[in-house]
Amino acid sequence: MANSLALTRLQEEHRQFRKDHPHGFFARPFDEDGKRNYFKWFCGIPGKKGTEWEGGTYHLILEFSDDYPTKPPVCKFDPPLFHPNIFPSGTVCLSLLDPSKDWKPSVTIKSILFAIQELLASPNLDDPAQAEPYKMMKESPEEYRKTVREMVRKSFIRH
């Protein structure tokens, strides 16, 4: 790793995010035993109000390569979420994160997080990544929403 382009960009993203970030979101370099590295970030996305995801904050790991920002980061929910566009491994499937589709080097970390928040609320059924939620969403959207709401309540909201 020598090309400082990825690094300087990540430093600047970090500064920008710290200065001004949307309510409920967080994003910062990942902490591993007190050692933090700019190429791996730990982020949190709040569920959008008025959707079945409301009330929880969903944890996400972003991994950047040397080729960032030419190439997008890999975004992975940890733990994985029950959602048609999230692979069972937790990796998010989104055209914004695909260099051959909508990814542009100018896309900021903030806009990635916003786009993923939006994706949670409105799944894209043309591009399924996880079979069970996809089937359920397609066959009975109401049941899907109920299942999600139940999961959110159980695992993310403490009473």
Binding site: M1, N3, T8, E12, R15, R28, F39
Partner: protein, 561 residues
């Protein structure tokens, strides 16, 4: 001995005549030059330096000599294969030019073993590297050391020489380089430790050439010529008297088996053996079994068709082949190619638009990627990646090697770097400035540094005793106190965060903040490498901590207007 002195004197006489001064001869005799990379261009440069009368030359190269180097890296002989380039080059050139005193390091130029002081002993650095990262690094170190660097490059018929003095001329970092897809991949990477799927694809294409193609010396697998199909065929004919003319199915099966066994079982096993102690991650190669191979041989004929493979290669969303499928497709394609070869009795050229060739390369690269734990690509993507491979031409290297040493001589004769020229070699002649004609080597006026370039404008040079100064002192006394910066964060190039301004939203990890309070720069191994500093105002700097025993902390900005 007399002849030798004669040679040497002739050289100095030549330089004196060329530049019209005795002073230049003296300068050449005394200047220490650092040559980074002794490959294609580097061999030419070294020869030219020595025969121009340079005495003190230091070589740095981390690579060993392989068969594929021999066609153009003329300092090396076939008996040198496997030896270190830097060492052999030193021995050869000292024999050729007894007046030269060459020293050599077998190491990555980016190693922290080369501190700033090491670079500062040279009058100039010639960069004859094959990759972008190392060039960026040398460019940056030379900027910190404030010595001129002569950057060279050669791809196919194109080449360039760019003299750089950061802060005064456009440097290698001034223009962001486009993503380099065509970067030459080191041979050892291709043969022994592929890191990306591209390395596996390139290897698969070379394999195609070994078996069916025009086996060129530049092929990193060229020492496997025993596996050329023509050779295997003649071998089998001479071995079995009965089947003199007919290369039947048995032969096909036997050949497939032999090739598969050699390149996907035997070779991988030997890599595993070879690297067992050095590369821990390699100890778990996924090597196909003989049973798998035998199963494939039995049932591939019914399973695949050219039409089907063609359909697949046109689908970008096609899923990546499993190793079972890759194994079967490999055998299937190999058989098809054997028949094609048998019919034409002439070499086959790899063509990414030919379904069978493409499927062959896809299958071979998939098997190799799987073995090394790399994610393979589907045939649609392999076609995209396989379309570009650039040859290395010795003539290009020779021209570049000549131009760069001449530029160096001009610099030593007193021309400031900014008054030299960038030289571009192209396949098609281009108009020369201030002339009515066209030339394939065209000079370009050297431009000024780009305004936003960090390397040209915002370098922070720190001198201190790294074993005594703590990281916090470097931040507080150096960056904040002496330079009046308000750093937001400081990180190494590998992304490790050394320092970060207090966070208000989240409690900062106490472990890392207390560490920098008490630990010295040397304890965290932060000296003698570039660091990235972001000021709270959003301005980026690069910093270098130079270790000097018993020196108090001093921090200075270089090249700031």
């Amino acid at each position: 001995m007399d002849n030798e002195c004669q040679d040497k004197n002739n050289i100095y006489e030549g330089i004196q005549k060329c530049f019209g001064s005795l002073q230049v001869v003296e300068t050449v005799r005394q200047s220490k030059i650092l040559l980074v990379g002794v490959g294609g261009v580097g061999s030419e440069v070294l020869k030219n330096l020595a025969f121009s009368g340079f005495v003190n030359i230091h070589l740095v190269d981390l690579d060993t000599i392989s068969v594929s180097n021999l066609n153009r890296q003329f300092l090396f002989r076939s008996e040198d294969v496997g030896k270190w380039k830097a060492i052999v080059a030193k021995e050869r050139i000292e024999k050729l030019c007894p007046w030269s005193q060459v020293s050599a390091s077998v190491d990555n130029i980016r190693s922290r073993k080369f501190p700033l002081e090491f670079f500062k002993q040279f009058v100039a650095v010639i960069c004859a590297l094959d990759n972008h990262k190392a060039r960026l690094y040398v460019n940056e170190v030379c900027a910190f050391a404030q010595i001129p660097m002569f950057e060279t490059g050669s791809t196919g018929y194109q080449g360039q020489v760019i003299p750089i003095l950061a802060g005064s001329t456009e440097c290698y970092s001034c223009e962001p380089k486009p993503q380099q897809q065509n970067e030459q991949i080191p041979v050892c990477t291709i043969r022994h430790r592929p890191e990306t799927v591209e390395h596996c694809i390139v290897w698969a294409m070379y394999l195609f050439d070994v078996l069916f193609g025009n086996l060129e010396d530049s092929n990193p697998l060229s020492d496997e010529k025993d596996y050329k199909i023509s050779y295997l065929a003649s071998d089998s004919v001479s071995n079995s008297e009965t089947k003199k003319t007919d290369l039947d199915e048995d032969w096909e099966n036997m050949t497939c088996k032999r090739i598969f066994h050699k390149f996907f079982i035997e070779d991988l096993q030997s890599i595993q053996e070879l690297k067992k102690d050095t590369f821990l991650s390699l100890s778990t190669l996924k090597i196909p079994s003989k049973e798998q191979l035998n199963n494939c041989l039995l049932n591939v004929q019914q399973k695949y068709s050219i039409e089907e493979l063609k359909k697949e290669e046109q689908n970008p969303h096609q899923s990546v082949w499993t190793s079972e499928k890759a194994c079967e497709v490999f055998i299937f394609c190999l058989k098809q190619l054997l028949r094609k070869w048998k019919e034409s009795q002439s070499i086959l050229m790899f063509d990414e638009n030919d379904t069978i060739s493409l499927a062959f390369v896809t299958a071979a690269s998939t098997l190799r990627a799987e073995a090394f734990g790399i994610v393979p690509k589907n045939s649609f993507d392999v076609r995209g990646a396989a379309g570009r491979i650039i040859p290395a031409l010795s003539t290009t290297n020779a021209v570049i090697g000549g131009v760069v040493v001449f530029q160096l001589l001009r610099f030593l004769s007193g021309s400031p770097v900014k008054d030299l020229y960038n030289a571009r070699l192209s396949q098609v002649p281009r108009p020369r400035p201030r002339h009515q004609d066209e030339a394939i080597i065209s000079p370009e006026v050297i431009r000024s540094p780009v305004e936003e370039c960090i390397i040209c404008h915002r370098l922070i040079l720190v001198s201190c005793d790294a074993t005594k100064v703590t990281v916090m002192q470097f931040i507080e006394d150096g960056l904040k106190g002496q330079l009046k910066l308000d750093p937001f964060s400081v990180a190494t190039d590998s992304g490790f965060i050394i320092y970060e301004a207090e966070q208000d939203d989240q409690a900062i990890s106490t472990a890392s903040s207390s560490k920098i309070d008490t630990q010295t720069i040397a304890q965290l191994q932060l000296e003698e490498q570039p660091l990235s500093v972001l000021d709270d105002s959003g301005v980026n700097y690069r910093a270098w901590i130079k270790h000097q025993c018993d020196v108090a902390l001093t921090t200075e900005l270089i090249f700031r207007e």
